[in-house]
Symmetry: C2
Subunit: 122 residues, 2 copies
């Protein structure tokens, strides 16, 4: 996926709800479902230009709130650290499993690792 | 600390930057430094009533953005799960340390636990 699609998906995940329902629809169609501006125009019975303007306004709002709050930036920084942490935990689990196969501690750590993965996307 | 102080501190941590500089100052003085409205009025050379109005407006803005984005709510829900996870990890570390004192795996898990605590406040 292109970087700007990943970036917009994250901005939308954090801040999408500040947009109007129509802007949310356009962002979802364009960025998540890969519709073209023309296709979105047809679907919403409006011009390609109107879709474009609305999309740009929505992007600007999302970028502007991120410039102030920086929550996506914080998330991205932490995400890298989480992925390293999960790798380290996986290594401990493997090492422990070699010594204590099927031990309760191994299962408990696997459970913890799964929880961390589910929250942090790792 | 009163619940509404904890709540406001969290809202302010997530969204404070959407407020004006003056609103941020008032919130910090009132909620973090426990100044009274009158004291803030004196400090900022304005009336108690003006401070009160500004504070209420700021609180309303913070609550309104949280109603839309729900990021504090998500954080609080995850915080409970993190604190349980950290407890479970602590138990594994203790059990492992009893069997393998000073083992590299114990140190590695302690390191991982510290990282998780530092990120999640646990």
């Amino acid at each position: 996926m292109e970087d700007r699609f990943v970036e917009m998906a994250l901005l939308y995940d954090f801040y999408g709800k500040i947009l109007t329902a129509k802007q949310q629809e356009i962002i979802e169609l364009y960025y998540m479902k890969n519709f073209s501006l023309g296709e979105i125009g047809e679907l919403l019975k409006t011009s390609r230009q109107a879709v474009y303007d609305n999309l740009k306004r929505a992007e600007k709002q999302l970028n502007s709130i991120e410039d102030r709050l920086g929550l996506v930036c914080r998330y991205q920084r932490e995400e890298k650290q989480w992925s390293q942490t999960i790798k380290r935990l996986d290594n401990v689990i493997m090492a422990l499993d070699r010594e204590y196969s099927n031990h309760e501690m191994v299962k408990e750590l696997q459970d913890i690792r799964e929880f961390i993965g589910s929250i942090t996307g790792g």
